[in-house]
Structure formats: structure tokens, C-alpha cells
Symmetry: C2
Subunit: 416 residues, 2 copies
């Protein structure tokens, strides 16, 4: 199959969406939510075919599995997106120039958004809903493990689109093979923005090979710095929440930096982690402070590799620093620009940390676990951007739009 | 020379700028303006060495050449940048969440901005001034033809930076060879944003090879559509201004689309172009309408290649369309997403054109020649972005910043 035809179809569908009224978009999303439930038997049967090909020991199995409850959750999420304000048509700037030209900078759809993701069929609904709400067609490349599920979901959504007289190419699912990924990365002139959702290997592959604009999402090496002026009680709650709330997500804490003046409090700071059996990789000073107070079988001496690692597990590095500047230096070196946090009661220290840390989200006295579009009150998000271009941190509906300048004149010309 | 050392130096300098007060930035820029004039003898002598290596017949010669007047102009431009409002520290969003978390989305510098450009030494001043004002260090890769000039300018600016106690790596000039370009494109982790300024070949090379975020600038295939309801007098002024004001810039008109119902007015519409001896490549219908009214030696039949071409010359394609939809279709196919214009007195037609054309700047009854940061009242610009990510159209100081989220808490944690 010539994928160029598919890309061109998606582009035409994206142009068609420019004429689709906002209320119609929301009606479609609500209808999709209804169908996700009404056709759950069909979707689950196709999902079962995917599951049959995967060992239930595989850690991906749970992410691949759909259930009636999960479909109900997907329907709820889709209805939620329908209820959010439209990110389109926002007047971002408006001026009338001295020569009478009327300038408006207004938010508009990208056109076509490409998303590459792994074996999580819920993402198919999710990305479609967000892209449609943002006025863009989407080109999806899902994981081959979820291909039956994805095809079923797309068939259900296509039924709704056809019922509403909307071009089904608004949701274009590519073949689940590597050749499709390679073509998508080269789909210049058709796909306006590409968002890879997945592990490090996928992101690296996309960065190396994409010829179209990409927003990188995902990798978070997050630090908490417990300052000389840190409040111990707050620190205990923040470190524990940031580390153990969910270890497999990108906003999870990976490294604790502790001011040398507070080594005596380190054991108390880490005490809440024992319950979750968090393994600590501590430098010599921190190790000495923890020995005898933290379970010995969960304590190891840190190596160079302990720092800058995204553990995705009940593991955390611990490093002693002599000053705020040391902490800033460490974060600049090992952080991934995702989320960083300071625990301190000192206002000048807070201000310096917030100013100098170069990351999407910089926290004082709150855990990095809050880095999330819904938590930030932004509605749904398509991912957490770790780059600085266009979207930084939670990428929600507003960041899924671009803008254009509308210039209304009456025959003015520009002087030579 | 190991360029990684240079990149790391620029990164450290960019971090240092986070502590430089805005007033200091402006003082530095004013001092640079003073030195551009005070040291003009030295700069011009070095520029003469570059000029001696280039034939004065070379079309680049004039762009390479500096004069006392041009240095004065550069000084004025630099002072102008000093006088613009700082794009940093703007509060883009502020909310207090129900749990008491205080969220601020604030504009911050990128860190390090890389710019690749050709033999135009004025760009060295220009990019430095804009990047510093936007709080970023810059890494410059200039054309080898201008290397003596660029090194002299950088030396002058370094003198100012040292006087103000600012790290000279804030302005890092790379060797003027291809190896440096290749390294820069791979400078992941050091350079946050890359802006190529130059011709199509450079932009294509950068897109193919960059592993860091890029903003493409430059290419403009611009259309004007003279609608059935177009005002002839406005049309004549607009088409002439858009085509002939300056033919070598990206906002220049390349194609005129004329509604078939107005073919009788086509000769009048094009009459002002005769003075500039604009060569027209017209389709059969338009050619028939022009024959006998437009100088024969300036008329040719259009070929497929006439459309979608950025002429950069006194040349223009002319195409007859049967409807607004035809015009929209043609623009979608051949436009480069830069600037497009309609000439019409019909409000519904205007609204449809403004809504459906997918370009950075969409005009009604005004020429595309206005696409320019200063004309838009945005201050100085670093280029015209033709992509949709982050900056679209004139990229001025605001678009040379990114943002981060500051989250201030008091020990709140996120529920499981």
C-alpha cells in the first residue's frame, strides 16, 4: 500500500475539519463515547485476539488489555474532552496598525498530527479525541501487538465519522509495521507535527530519522533538593509522594539531594519510603547517615551511574550537596529538564532555585508528581514535552494548536 | 579544535545570563552600538580583507560589504533592540489550584540559540543583539566569505562583554567550515534551538541532518487572488506592491490568481507591473486576455513549473480560476504556508479565505509585503518562520523565548 495516498488523505481530511463547527466536533466525540460502550463486545473480542498472542507474564499485557470498565472509562474521558472549551479561534493578539491594517493572531489547527505509540489501545481513542478537538486529523502508528484492537477501535470511530458526514481519513491508522514508521517520519508536506509516545529507544529513533517537526515527550530524571532550611515534615511527605505515588511515570522522583547540614535528618526524611521498600543508592556521606536507620538490604552505595538515571522503579539515588549552588550544578548536569523540586522555607533560596533551574516544571515545597495536564487544570494532555520548542511540560489542547495572522486591509501598500 | 568545548562554553554562558538583570542587557547592547561605530576603522579593514577575496561582480558582494553608514545603521538597530521591552519574565498564565498550589507559566530564555547564515556580517550583530535581549547565548556559524569581518565583529563585542563582566562565550563564533555546521546540527544537549538563515539548499541540508529542534525560515511562494468581487484599483496597487517592492525577499508575490469573471480587468490589474518590466507566465486564458495589452516580450505561456516557484525576480505566474474554491485548492497545492492574499469586497468570501488558507499570514485587501516583524509592530525579527511549531510568520523577541511552569506549594501531595 502506498502510504503517500494515506498521508494525502489525512491532509485533505484536516483541511475539511476547518469547516466543521465546534458543536459538531463535540457531538462526534459524544457519539464516539457512546459507541465505545455500545460496541464493547466487538472491541473486546478483537482485543482478545491481541491478548491471545501475548504472554500474560509480559509487563505490556496489562496495558494491552481492555475490559468493559476500561471502555467505560474511555467513554467518560472522551465525553470529558467534548466538554472542554475549544482551543481554536482564540484571539492571541489583536492590533490595528497606524496605517489601518487590522492584525489578529488567532489559534488554528495544525492540520495533521502524527502519533507513534506502543501497545496501548486506549491511546487510539485518546489521541483521536484530542486531535479532533484541536481541529486536526491524526495519523496513528500503533504497536503491532495491539493491531486487532486498534483496527476495531478505528472501525467504530469511522462508523461515527461517516454518520456525521466527516471524512474517515480524519482518523488514519497506518499498518503496524516498521516501514510505516519510517514513511511517517518522512511525511513532509503532509504531517505537520509528530509526537512519539513510548520508551527511550522509540524517541531516539524518531529524533534521528524524522524530517518533520517533532515534540519529544516522556523522559524524566527528576530531583528533589532538601535545603538547609527545609521543613522536615513537608520534606517527608513530598519525597514519599514524588517517589512512590506511581513509579512507572515520568514525573517520578529519581534523585534526592540533601544539604550536608541536614544529614542528621536524612533518615527521618527517607523513613516513609521503607513501607514501599524503596532501594536507595546513596553517596558515602548519605550512606553513613542512613546506616542503622534504613533497612540495610535496601541500602547501596551510589555509583556514577546512579545519578541521571530514570529508574521507573522503587529505587532512588541520594546525594549530599554542600550548598544550593552544588544542587543547581548537579541538576543542570543530570536533570532531563522535566520536573525539579526544592524543599525549603527560605524565600531567597526558593527564588534562586525557581529562577535558575532550567526545566519544564520547577517546584517549591510540592512534589513533582503534580506534573500532569489535568492536575494543572489544563484539561486532558497528550504528553509531557521535555523540549523547549512550542510546548514545554504538559501538552494539552491549547498546545495542540498553532496560530496564524489574519491581516485585514483596505488597499494599503507598504512604502518602498 | 573540539567544538564540544565551545558548545559547553555557550551553554554555561547561557546559564549565566539567567542572573543578568534586564537593565544590564540593555546597557551592553548600547555599548555594543557605540563600539560598532567607535571601532569602525578596524571592522572595515577586516571587512576589506573579505571583500578582496570576492569578485565585485558576485551578487553576494553587496551583502558582504560594510561601510561607515552601514555600521551606523547597525548601531541604530542595536540601540533599537535595547529600547524594546524585555520578552522575559512575562506571566503567561497564573492560577491557584483548589489545593492551594500556585502555578505560574512564565517566559524564560531558551538557553543557547544556534544560527547558521551566509556572508552577511550585519547578521552577526543582529543575531547577537536579539539573542542577548531574549536572554540566550548564541552560537553562530557564518559564511566563510565573511570570516574576517565576523571575527572582527565578535572581537569588538567580546570586548564589551568582558568590560561588563559577562562570559564572552555568550557570543560563540564557530569556525567557518562545513565540519562546524555538521557538529552544530548534532549539538544535542547544548544548543536548544537552531535557526538556519539562507537559501533553500542550506535549509534542506539542516532539515535532513539536524538532531536538535529547528525553526525553518525563508521560503515564500506567495499568491494573490483577485476575486470576482475584487476592487480593481486596490488590486492594482496591491499586486504591484507585493510583486515589485523588493523582489529578493520571501514575502514577494509569485503567483496571481484571477477569477475568470474578471479576465477583462486582468490587463489593467497588471498594467502597473510594466514599469518594473515584470515577466508574466500566464495560462492560456490569462494570456489571451493580456495579449495586446501587456508588452509582448514580457509575456510567456505558463508551464507546470511556473506555479509553486519562488521567483526572487521580476517574474510572476498568472493563473485563471473559476471560483474561490479553485483558488483555495491552488494555494493549498502550491503555496509554501508563508503569506497569501485575497482582493475582494465580499465579506463572506473574505471570511472563507481567511479561515481556509493554511499559511502564516493571510491577507485581505493588503499586500503580502507587510509580512515583517517590524511592520507587524513586533519590534525586530530574527526571521519569518514557515513552519507551524512554536513560531509562525515573523519570529520576534517573544518567539525567541520558551516558558517554564513555576509551582509553589506548602507541602501538598498528590492523592494516589
Amino acid at each position: 500500500m502506498d502510504l503517500t495516498t494515506l498521508f494525502a488523505g489525512a491532509k485533505a481530511a484536516g483541511r475539511g475539519l476547518l469547516q466543521l463547527p465546534v458543536e459538531r466536533v463535540n457531538d462526534i466525540l459524544r457519539a464516539v463515547a457512546d459507541e465505545a460502550v455500545a460496541q464493547s463486545e466487538y472491541i473486546l473480542a478483537e482485543n482478545a485476539r491481541d491478548l491471545a498472542r501475548m504472554s500474560s507474564d509480559n509487563p505490556l499485557y496489562d496495558r494491552l488489555k481492555l475490559t468493559p470498565e476500561r471502555l467505560q472509562g474511555i467513554a467518560d474521558d472522551t465525553r470529558h474532552v467534548a466538554g472542554l472549551p475549544s482551543p481554536l479561534g482564540r484571539v492571541l493578539k489583536h492590533t490595528v496598525l497606524p496605517n489601518g491594517l487590522d492584525l489578529t493572531r488567532v489559534s488554528v489547527p495544525f492540520g495533521v498530527i502524527g502519533v507513534i505509540y506502543e501497545a496501548r489501545p486506549n491511546v487510539t481513542f485518546d489521541v483521536f479525541a484530542l486531535c479532533l478537538k484541536a481541529g486536526s486529523a491524526c495519523v496513528l502508528k500503533g504497536g503491532s501487538d495491539a493491531d486487532c484492537s486498534n483496527r476495531a477501535i478505528v472501525r467504530v470511530i469511522h462508523g461515527v465519522l461517516e454518520r456525521f458526514g466527516v471524512d474517515p481519513a480524519t482518523l488514519t491508522l497506518l499498518p503496524a509495521d516498521r516501514a510505516a514508521t519510517a514513511s511517517l517520519l518522512q511525511a513532509r508536506g503532509y504531517v505537520d507535527l509528530l509526537i512519539p509516545r513510548g520508551g527511550r529507544a522509540l524517541i531516539d529513533y524518531v529524533r534521528e530519522n524524522a524530517r518533520i517537526p517533532v515534540i519529544e515527550t516522556g523522559a524524566g530524571v527528576c530531583h528533589a533538593y532538601f535545603d538547609a532550611a527545609g521543613d522536615l515534615r513537608k520534606g517527608m511527605a513530598i519525597v514519599n509522594n514524588a517517589k512512590t505515588r506511581r513509579v512507572s511515570v515520568c514525573n517520578t522522583l529519581d534523585s534526592l539531594l540533601v544539604h550536608a547540614a541536614r544529614l542528621a535528618d536524612l533518615a527521618a526524611l527517607c523513613a516513609p519510603l521503607v513501607e514501599s521498600r524503596v532501594r536507595l543508592y546513596a553517596d558515602a556521606q548519605a550512606l553513613a547517615a542512613l546506616r542503622g536507620h534504613y533497612p540495610d538490604e535496601l541500602l547501596e552505595e551510589a555509583t556514577e551511574a546512579s545519578f541521571g538515571t530514570e529508574f521507573m522503579d522503587y529505587k532512588m539515588a541520594v546525594k549530599t550537596v554542600d550548598s544550593l549552588d552544588d544542587a543547581l550544578e548537579h541538576i543542570a548536569r543530570f536533570g532531563s529538564g522535566h520536573s525539579e523540586c526544592i524543599i525549603t522555607e527560605d524565600e531567597a533560596t526558593t527564588a534562586k532555585f525557581l529562577r535558575l533551574v532550567d526545566a519544564a516544571c520547577v517546584y517549591s515545597n510540592a512534589p513533582t508528581s503534580f506534573t500532569d495536564g489535568a492536575q494543572f487544570g489544563l484539561g486532558a494532555e497528550i504528553g509531557i514535552s521535555t523540549q523547549k520548542l512550542h510546548a514545554r511540560g504538559p501538552m494539552a489542547l491549547e498546545e495542540m494548536t498553532t496560530y496564524k495572522w489574519l491581516v485585514r486591509g483596505d488597499g494599503q501598500v507598504r512604502p518602498k
